[in-house]
Amino acid sequence: MSIPNDLKYTKSHEWVRLEDDGTATIGITQHAQELLGDMVFVETPKVGRKLKQGEECAVVESVKAAADVYAPIAGEVAAVNPDLESAPEKINQDAYAAWLFKLKSVNAADLANLLDYAAYQKILESEENQ
């Protein structure tokens, strides 16, 4: 399974990319979209909402199930992906391109708690073996 190695990950299957301008882009992983199957609804947080690390802030729903999305790091919602309201299937097509929301004023220290590529890969392998 492809996992980009320039991102940070959570155990709850979100990815984060710290951008050059200090903002962070957040989505769900390829593994998460595979588990959920065809996406049919995405609810993103309101722009301006301040999130704590680990706070429930979005919902992705597939034909099969609803899944909560948690803020991987603290910050203020700066933007949400406008494409996903009408085309949630973009997450299935490319989970690392179909970002959910962007955070500004992020707490960069929170990144230290997240998983790197290798650690996330290990989590996926242990889930596979369950």
């Binding site: 199957g37 065809d38 049919v40 609804f41 609810e43 919902v59 729903e61 034909v63 099969k64 609803a66 309201e85 299937e89 299935n92």
Partner: protein
Amino acid sequence: MKATALNQTHRDMQAKMVDFGGWDMPLHYGSQLDEHHRVRSDAGMFDVSHMLALDIKGEAARGYLRRLVANNVDKLTQPGKALYSCMLNQEGGVIDDLIIYFLTESHFRTVVNAGTAEKDLAWMQARRDEIAPGLEIIPRRDLAMIAVQGPNARAKVWQVIAGSQAETENLKLFQAIFFGKYFIARTGYTGEDGFEIMLPAVDAADFWNALHAAGVAPAGLGARDTLRLEAGMNLYGQDMDETTNPLESGLGWTIDLKSDREFIGKQSLLEKPVAQQLIGLILLDRGILRSHQKIVIQYDANTGQGGGEGEITSGGFSPTLNQSIALARLPLNVAAGDEVRVVVRDKMLRAKVVKYPFVRNGKILV
């Protein structure tokens, strides 16, 4: 986990497998939505071999079934004719829903749900011992069942089973026939035309592969559920079970209270008040309806109060309508055209009450 004769075939087709009531079954083969659309527009096939066929053999078969099930088997006069029915307990709760085929006066065949098969068989044997001790009830795990569904489904089957067209093209809905090693029934669980076909399990993989080669798309349990929901067909365990009244579950049309036949559960049903109905919902706001969500009727946004409650029994995304739909159990004073609220997480989403089915034969009806 239990596996059907097609288990390896599903895996070879890259199916995503899931545990479905103890059976290792395909959820989808890539995209559940694509499979849904293929069935509505062309032809798809489902492995339903996890369901159990039972042959009921003996002179007392019809008399036994008269007592065992809530629909009236005396409607079955022509060999091959099928009947959908509930099997009730003494309290009038639904043990299972099933299809009964009349083959001869001493041979009926019934198909029961996978998750309830053992419970059903135990119940049927115990009632047999009381009602008709000599009757044979024979589980047919040697058979596989494949449902081929969609507007082009029958034509694809005719391509694959040489000579079957002449014998089956005049089969009416809910009618079945033996053709060689096949038992071909014009039934289904999708709201589309098609066949449900039983055949020896050892021949299932070859038949499946031949259908695939003829252009029939494999479809998993995911699409099966969205198709049946659009078609407004009940799912056992969600829309009805042993604790619910079938008359409050949209099954009144299958319960024969008119004849003087004394079927199990009849007296209880006659004594029970009917206060609810099963009716359809279409979500007006953005979101997805799911089973067990609470419904508030006559909602007053100023007070935050409602005039009654209900519950979604089956909900989901309708690929054909491209919005969320549900079957819901609601008080009798709710009618098609009303607007209700559904509690989804922290929101009160608006939904319109409609009569189901939502979709039949590829056409949207709501």
